[in-house]
């Protein structure tokens, strides 16, 4: 019988303690973050999807299209497209496509990037009714009003043109020489053939 009552008392006691704690919490400020009205400040290291960084000096990105990010990516979500423009050193980035839907935010691309052209953004609240919205062209994202034309270095352009001309000349000469040689050879061959016959 006493066991019954002590059991009952114990139950009431533990209930009272629990209620005391809950009541104490009742008077404290709520910790809820009123999300759409106020938002949390992202930590500088927060990893959103990657983005091309704007270089204040040149007014554009510093990507050299080496493709190391693409190579290091475990889930093949980066595609770097580039082309050669006359008068510009190196290759010119034409598109930097990130398929965010397969990204795992591991940071291999950011780590591999030698010129530090990419970094994590702090986009933390993406949502959409279309899947295609998450395949970004980061270059377009960097320059929404239009990608600026790459700066052409006249000296380099001249040099390149000279080079091309020289190469063309050389090729032409070579071709000529080859043609000449061929005719000679033909002649020789003809002679030989004649000799043989």
């Amino acid at each position: 019988m006493s066991g019954y009552f002590s059991y009952l008392l114990n139950g009431i006691k533990s209930l009272a303690i629990g209620l005391k704690i809950t009541n104490k919490e009742f008077l404290t400020r709520p910790i809820t973050l009123q999300y759409p009205h106020e938002s949390v400040k992202m930590a500088p290291r927060y990893r959103g999807h990657i983005e091309l960084l704007m270089d204040s000096e040149t007014g554009t990105h510093t990507c050299i299209s080496c493709g190391m990010c693409q190579k290091g990516c475990p889930s093949n979500c980066i595609t770097v497209k580039s082309k050669k423009v006359p008068g510009v050193k190196g290759k010119v980035l034409t598109a930097y496509i990130l398929d965010f839907t397969t990204c795992s935010l591991c940071g291999q691309c950011v780590e591999n990037c030698k010129p530090a052209a990419i970094d994590f953004s702090n986009e933390y609240n993406l949502a959409s009714t279309r899947k295609e919205d998450f395949v970004f062209d980061l270059l377009q994202k960097l320059h929404p009003e239009g990608v600026p034309e790459p700066k052409v270095d006249p000296a380099l352009l001249k040099k390149e043109q000279e080079k091309i001309e020289a190469a063309a000349k050389a090729a032409a000469e070579k071709k000529e020489a080859a043609a000449k040689a061929a005719t000679e050879k033909e002649g020789e061959g003809g002679e030989k053939a004649e000799g043989k016959s």
């Binding site: 910790i31 809820t32 992202m42 983005e51 398929d99 990204c103 986009e123 933390y124 993406l126 949502a127």
Partner: protein, 177 residues
């Protein structure tokens, strides 16, 4: 973000001879603000789903905190995690058991496209739940922050009612240290 405001009214209400537009709108508003998600944690994203439901992010401010274990009582399926071939059938069954009208949120990269587990020659992961479920809203991330899930629910609300009642949050521009 591309937001085609497809009104959910026409698609979710069975056609009848007489329709009351205002009433339908009211009903859509009611539906959008009392979404009952199913507790359907598959993997990592489920923990963020729990976080979204817990004290700090508090999904109940949007009427979506009543996580129901039974598909019969739920009208929103949040696919939070990787679906693999063995899980495919149960997911289908669960979806079929839900009562109309019902919506699907694909939460996290795995649910959207297979995520990091999508590679050439993989043998077990379904590459995107939209291959067998009509997904309404996609929430990318690996895993998405709870805010992103809230954003997804708001996006769904917009899809159902046709208007957005909540402000849009633009993340602050990055100051990298």
């Amino acid at each position: 973000m591309g937001t085609e405001s497809i009104s959910g009214i026409e698609t979710s209400v069975p056609s009848s001879i007489v329709q009351f537009h205002m009433l339908d709108q009211l009903r859509a508003l009611a539906r959008a603000n009392s979404l009952w998600p199913m507790t359907f944690g598959l993997a990592c994203c489920a923990i963020e789903m729990m976080s979204a439901g817990a004290a700090r992010f508090d999904l109940s401010r949007f009427g979506a905190e009543v996580f129901r274990p039974s598909p019969r009582q739920a009208d929103l399926m949040i696919v939070a995690g990787t679906v693999n071939k063995k899980m495919l059938e149960p997911v289908k069954i669960l979806y079929d058991q839900m009562t109309e009208p019902k919506w699907v949120i694909a939460m996290g990269n795995c649910a959207i496209s297979g995520g990091p587990f999508k590679f050439k020659g993989q043998y077990n992961v379904i590459e995107g739940v939209d291959s067998f479920l009509p997904v309404d809203v996609y929430v990318p991330g690996c895993p998405p922050r709870p805010e992103a899930l809230i954003e997804g629910i708001l996006e769904l609300e917009e899809k159902i009612t046709g208007t957005r009642r909540w402000p849009r949050v633009k993340p602050e521009t990055a100051v990298k240290g």
